[in-house]
């Protein structure tokens, strides 16, 4: 019987979430579904009544939705960094992690884009983008680059999945899922020629997605930096946003890895060393983030431009000071001591640091967007204020729940850890690493040794 065959697989535990469904799955889907429903109802309320039901006003016309858009697009860098860059640098420890990261990328890009649609108020206004868009606007650069990144990431997620889908195809009982797997497996038979095609395609895609990912968050930053709003019009925004994106992406990946490890019993695949290595990367990003933040604020302070100083002090000691200092605590003060020492850079430690960073990076987007808009450059406009309404909170909760729900559904249909990559690693890693060591060591290995 096909349903029992999967249990005899070497990596049966990776197939278990797909072929065995427990009560917990239904409970999780029900809870997430309810939260998504709350989000949907909130959106319907907004659609019926207009954007007046949100906390947005003049001059604070961008708030939760744009914050969430930037936040979600930022997290998408998880997939690119971990999967593509580690693949290109042939880091063998990436193998169990790549798909987890790639799925994050595709899902958050979709949800990030959805937030723009929600922010429009009237979704039919999206047609203006297609009919009357002008490339003078950074918003159009953004739309183009995110579309390119979403497409490239989807292709990059799918291609390495083909061998795993073939495993599912061969073990699924007849039904709609068997048909789906047969379609998506693309006739995979594991021949040498097919391996060549796939490996070539994955290698090329890994090279392509990296510059696209860097360009995406640079262009997202241009939406702010190309304006002349105080504390937005800064040349540092491009690299600052990219660093922040990679930062939040790794943090999100670590949290999701910890959850998957616990829920699917993946202790053999997602080992403490994976968390430690990613924790080290995160430590580097903590320091980079602090460096960029310090440089930005010092430059503003030293310039002492009156409009910018109003925003500056609103953030550091004014109305937005609690959010600002919470951001610094969450992004620097809390994660730095946890990640800097091996004793605390455990699975639990890295997860605590990551959760702190995720909160901190959301606050960073809030701190970038709202204080600037609340303190307009033109003095004849009064200072504004902003507080989110229940509608915005509902939609935000719905977005996070939708991401989680889609992730759960993906893990129900496809292996969340790449079986083919793990197997390839098991078969070839020792050889690959030995060959690499032979190339590094001077005068040893294949080169003849000196006799005197």
């Amino acid at each position: 019987m096909a349903e029992t065959d999967w249990r005899k697989e070497e990596d049966a535990i990776l197939l278990r979430p797909i072929f065995a469904t427990g009560r917990t799955y239904y409970l999780v889907v029900a809870v997430l579904g309810a939260l998504v429903l709350w989000g949907l109802v909130s959106y319907i309320v907004q659609y019926e009544n207009g954007l007046g039901v949100t906390g947005m006003n003049f001059p604070v016309s961008w708030s939760f939705y744009i914050i969430n858009f930037v936040f979600f697009v930022g997290i998408s860098h998880a997939g690119t960094l971990i999967s593509a860059i580690l693949r290109l640098s042939q880091a063998e420890w990436r193998r169990p992690i790549t798909r987890i990261a790639e799925v994050i990328t595709v899902l958050v890009l979709g949800i990030g884009g959805m937030n723009i649609l929600i922010d429009l108020g009237r979704p039919d206004r999206l047609m203006n983008l297609f009919l009357y868009g002008r490339y003078q606007s950074p918003l159009l650069w953004d739309a183009t680059s995110i579309t390119a990144y979403f497409t490239a990431s989807s292709v990059y997620l799918y291609i390495p999945m083909i061998p795993d889908i073939a495993v599912l195809r061969d073990r699924s009982p007849p039904g709609w899922r068997s048909f789906l797997y047969r379609v998506l497996a693309m006739g995979w038979a594991g021949t040498e020629r097919q391996h060549k095609v796939l490996n070539r395609a994955v290698a090329i895609m890994a090279v392509l997605v990296v510059p696209i990912a860097v360009s995406v968050h640079t262009v997202v930053s241009f939406v702010f930096s190309m304006t002349v709003q105080p504390m937005w019009h800064s040349t540092i925004f491009g690299p600052y946003f990219v660093v922040g994106a990679i930062f939040s992406g790794i943090a999100a990946l670590l949290v999701i890895m910890a959850v998957l490890r616990k829920v699917f019993h993946l202790e053999d695949y997602l080992q403490p060393i994976h968390f430690s290595y990613l924790g080290l990367l995160l430590l580097v990003m903590v320091l980079l983030w602090f460096y960029f933040t310090f440089a930005e604020y010092l430059t503003t302070y030293y310039g002492n431009e009156p409009n910018e100083m109003r925003v500056f002090f609103a953030k550091l000691s004014g109305k937005y000071a609690p959010a600002f200092w919470a951001m610094v605590a969450c992004n620097f003060a809390i994660p730095l001591p946890i990640l800097a020492f091996r004793r605390t850079r455990t699975i639990l430690g890295t997860v605590i640091a990551s959760i702190s960073i995720i909160i901190g990076m959301w606050l960073e987007r809030f701190i970038i967007i709202v204080p600037t808009l609340a303190n307009p450059r033109l003095r004849q406009y009064a200072q504004g204020s902003y507080a989110p309404s229940i509608v915005e909170i509902g939609i935000m909760v719905g977005c996070f729940a939708l991401f989680s729900l889609l992730y759960v559904l993906f893990s129900k249909l496809f292996p969340i850890v790449s079986i083919s990559e793990v197997r390839e690693g098991r078969e070839k890693t020792v050889e690959i690493v030995k060959e690499r060591l032979d190339r590094y060591k001077p005068g040893l290995g294949k080169l003849p040794r000196a006799t005197t």
Binding site: F130, L131, Y132, G133, R134, Y135, Q136, L140, W141, T144, S145, T147, A148, T151, A152, V155, I159, I162, P163, A166, V167, R169, D170, F179, R182, V183, M186, G187, W188, A189, G190, T191, R193, Q194, K196, V197, L198, A201, I204, M205, L208, I212, S420, R423
Partner: protein, 85 residues
């Protein structure tokens, strides 16, 4: 990796037709994006509005979508051909 069972079974004509439909759908999507970019260039030309910047952006964006379409076709036909004995 152990040789999968039924790996050479094509799964019938409906599987192939669905695969072709997905391939066509992807190609159509990429074509629509390229058409959209072309429209934006046209709008910028008629409005005398950053035509050069529009061309510049198109020179980066359009090849990406063309490349992705070619990549998807390469993988599809390559795997199909490579799976034949």
């Amino acid at each position: 990796m152990a040789t999968p069972r039924n790996s050479s079974a094509p799964g019938g004509p409906w599987v192939f037709r669905t695969q072709l439909a997905l391939l066509a759908g992807f190609s159509a999507f990429a074509s629509l994006v390229i058409l959209w970019i072309a429209r934006l260039i046209y709008v910028s030309y008629t409005l005398h509005d950053v035509f050069s910047a529009s061309i510049g952006i198109a020179l980066i964006a359009v090849p990406i979508f063309v490349f992705l379409t070619c990549m998807v076709h390469y993988v599809f036909w390559g795997l199909r051909r490579g799976g034949r004995p």
